[in-house]
């Protein structure tokens, strides 16, 4: 393992020397050094991990972002990008020895271009604000994370965020046509543009989901989708999860492609009821939300099919909503579910894993068993259509040892996902939280290749270090990873932190 190189100055000194230069770039009110102010940035949406940033920079233009990043690269100071701070994998966990580059002031919608079916936005624009700006033209922005009114486009790009409607419309990566990025060396580079396809390597594809390790998105050209002629949302209540799962399988088998298929279990329904009084059918052990969109005739035919299949699977109540207000009422419970769990448990872990749809029933059974054995409650909310599970592991943080036991259950759920041929994250990303789980999914050679790719963008190793890929410091001795000195390090072209 590589020793940290000794430096003439301590990280603190290096940071303090940086502050006046950062102020020149971002202005006095664009740099935060006061300890109590910096502390409010110690976590993103995952508070389990916390670290007070050395400095917080609040740039307002792409040029400022690039200058800040360039300065960090030149001085060997790590930087961490942050959008709205709603991430759930601690991807924006700050560094005490680094600069937190926050895009929350870059909230301008540069252009809505309905003729080319796209919009150009700054990275701090909230996901839902794109839809708000496009709505008058009959368009919307399709990826819809549950936090869409808050989460920023820049964060969505870093995490390749999805949402309930990914089943039909795909993830962020399917909706970004062009990017301007500040590379980890501080260059502003444009990838793609308004045209739907660009020749050469798919660098946009590589950048999206790179969790801030390949730079910071400073502007995005996103695809706008025509608002569907009709949207119908069905809410079906079942006695238990098995019946709900059966309904999902038969809907997909029938050849219906809903915009979204979501399922919630009794515990998450209880939480949502407590939070937003969503008024789901009483006594439901599971509710299925199926949304259909498209031409009116198709939607009506599909809705009839879904109804029939749900009834056959044992649904005891089915509600249908076509008006925006009614649909919003159905979605309210689902969209608030994560935060709503705060009403029924003092603390909880939001897990995110993927399994093949056919394994859903079995995995849910295994999770129930895990929960019963450990005495730790697990609420299940998930995108049933694409097998993306969001188990919520509930515990009382005031009770000694409860957090560790919950983390064990949460980890065991990930093992279940891997064992069934799934993935350790569907949409929340790896961040810090799951970096050490990466070797459970990937062979050392895979990780090595990813690391080399990362270094090609970031030879100085300053861009969101210790996220996404496992590091010895973070994960202890991870077997099989970096047994040898990295070739770039050996050549003196890169440093390992």
């Amino acid at each position: 393992m590589q020793e940290r190189p000794t430096r003439e100055r301590s990280p603190d000194d290096r940071l303090s020397a940086l502050v006046p230069r950062l102020r020149r770039i971002c202005g006095d009110d664009g740099v935060l050094t006061d300890p109590s102010r910096r502390r409010t940035y110690e976590s993103d949406g995952l508070t389990y991990h916390a670290e007070v940033p050395g400095v917080v920079a609040l740039p307002t233009t792409a040029e400022q972002v690039a200058e800040v990043v360039g300065l960090c690269a030149a001085e060997g100071v790590p930087f961490v990008p942050r959008g709205a701070g709603t991430g759930l994998s601690a991807g924006a966990l700050p560094r005490a020895d680094g600069v937190l580059v926050t895009t929350s002031r870059m909230r301008r919608i540069v252009e809505v271009d309905p003729d080319n079916e796209c919009a150009v936005v700054q990275p701090g624009v909230a996901n839902l604000d794109i839809t708000r700006a496009a709505a008058p033209y009959g368009y919307y922005y399709a990826p819809d994370p549950s936090s869409q009114q808050v989460c920023s486009v820049g964060g969505n790009i870093a995490e390749n965020s999805g949402g309930a409607h990914c089943l039909k419309y795909g993830f962020t990566v399917n909706h970004v046509l062009g990017l301007q990025i500040a590379t980890p060396q501080g260059e502003l580079v444009r990838l793609g543009g308004k045209a739907p396809e660009a020749p050469g390597y798919d660098l946009i594809g590589a950048f999206i989901g790179s969790e801030g390790t390949l730079g910071i998105a400073t502007e995005a050209t996103v695809r706008l989708v025509r608002s569907p002629q009709k949207v119908t949302t069905l809410l079906a209540a079942f006695a238990g999860m098995d019946a709900g799962g059966q309904a999902v399988s038969s809907v997909i088998a029938e050849g219906v492609l809903p915009a979204a298929v979501e399922m919630m279990d009794a515990l998450s329904i209880e939480a949502a009821e407590a939070a937003v009084a969503c008024d789901y059918p009483e006594g439901a052990g599971a509710v299925l939300i199926v949304e259909l969109d498209g031409p009116a005739a198709d939607v009506d035919a599909d809705a009839a099919a879904v109804r029939r299949l749900c009834e056959r699977a044992g649904a005891f109540e089915i509600r249908e909503a076509s008006g925006a207000a009614e649909r919003a009422r159905i979605w309210k419970g689902r969209k608030s579910a994560f935060a709503a769990v705060g009403r029924i448990s003092p603390a909880y872990i939001v897990q995110d894993g993927v399994v093949p749809r056919t394994a859903l029933g079995e995995v849910l059974g295994d999770i129930a068993r895990l929960s019963a054995e450990s005495g730790i409650r697990v609420a299940n909310v998930f995108h049933a259509g694409d097998g993306n599970l969001h188990p919520l592991v509930l515990f009382d943080d005031a009770e000694p040892g409860a957090g560790e036991r919950a983390a064990e259950v949460s980890g065991a759920i990930l093992d279940l996902c891997i064992r069934h041929g799934g993935s350790i994250t569907g949409e929340h990303g790896v961040g810090v939280d799951k970096a050490c789980s990466m070797p459970r999914m990937f062979a050392p050679q895979d990780l090595e290749a990813m690391d080399r790719f990362r270094r090609a963008f970031d030879p100085a190793g300053v861009a969101n270090p210790e996220k996404l890929l496992p590091t010895p410091r973070l994960c202890g001795e991870v077997p099989g990873v970096r047994r040898d000195v990295h070739p770039l390090v050996a050549q003196g072209r890169a440093e390992q932190f």
């Binding site: 102010r37 508070t47 701090g124 009114q149 808050v150 939070a275 935060a339």
Partner: protein, 440 residues
Amino acid sequence: MTESTENKENGERPFPDLLSDCVHCGFCLPTCPTYVLWGEEMDSPRGRIHLMGQAEEEGAFSDASVGHFDNCLGCLACVTACPSGVAYDALIETTRARVEDEHERPRGERLLRSAIFSLFPHRRRLELMRGPLRAYQASGLAEPLRKSGLLQRLSPSLAAMERMAPPIRSRVPSLPERVPAAGRRRAVVGMLTGCVQGAFFPQVNTATARVLAAEGCEVVVPQGQGCCGALSSHSGRAEEAARFAEATVRTFEQAGVDTVVVNSAGCGGTMKHYGRVLREAGHPRELVRRAEALSAKVVDFSEYLARLGPRAERHPLPITAAYHDACHLSHGQGVTAQPRDLLRAIPELEVADLPNPEICCGSAGVYNLLNPEPAADLGTRKADDVSSTQASLLVAGNPGCSLQIAATMRERGEEIAVAHTAQVLDASIRGLPPTALVPS
């Protein structure tokens, strides 16, 4: 009502417990006016809750954190947005009271605050200002003074006060102790006349009483009533607030009414949580219980009318009106549909909804006097939204909002008529022409 029982529970839960309800999801960020303006964590509800936690841990407020608490408008949009049910209203009120207790403010700030609070919550003193203010407005001095920028240089707060001052009309006769119901009596209700509302907008109180009477209510207007304590409570002056609250509780107990109708959102919001106000100031349990009993009787004017159902005939008012949600009505009391429904029931009246209805206009009690800059920025944003509706009348359920928005519109040369929901209903019931509300 579930809200009041919930708040009762919250009031009895310890502060750290209330803090721990926040799961840091960030859903509050986009509805927070200061986050909208500045895009920084410590000026968002999530960040402020974090700062409260820091103070709790360290046993003291950092100077920086006090600034961020002061920046909070107390609009409670975050309470509406929060899926975890964080009682930010209780948190910020307690925090403000602690700041006033424990934190030494610079001399200038202290003087400004005591000046404001020795004037505003006192209706008599406000009424004494009417004469000089009217003379000043008639003198033609206002225009050159504003242009000179002298006041702005002297004190931005004073300049804000000058800008916001409502046009003083001729004196409206004060309401009698009892206003009889028109026709068969359906109910007996008490009515709060308030301090600012009473002194500067007596015509709103008159309209309120007239509409209630027309709908069959006998209206009891206790003569000894003063400020309800809302302004003080929102600024952390816990004891002053509790004194006002206690007096108001006694006044309405003596009036012997089962319903207390309030036409000012800020007042209603506070009066619905009197238990908390008194508990915060350490008042005895018995008094807290009585305060809670009064809170249960408090109802907003529009909320009450919607519940009562219309009886008086509505005459047409061919006007396009924009309805502005006063924060302490929408976020503080959950009243959004009722005033719109009441207005839409008026023939030929068109009600336009403002874009960004959840964002505060920047008035926020005395906030626009204490923090004139962000208040003015928010006022401008709200004025943009009001302009976009092309309405000729702005309707709101709170005097402060009307003052703030009207002043901002006036400065932009887009003068707009403002009215309280009660005045619109009053004009319709009395069959007045639209010019009664919108001078042509």
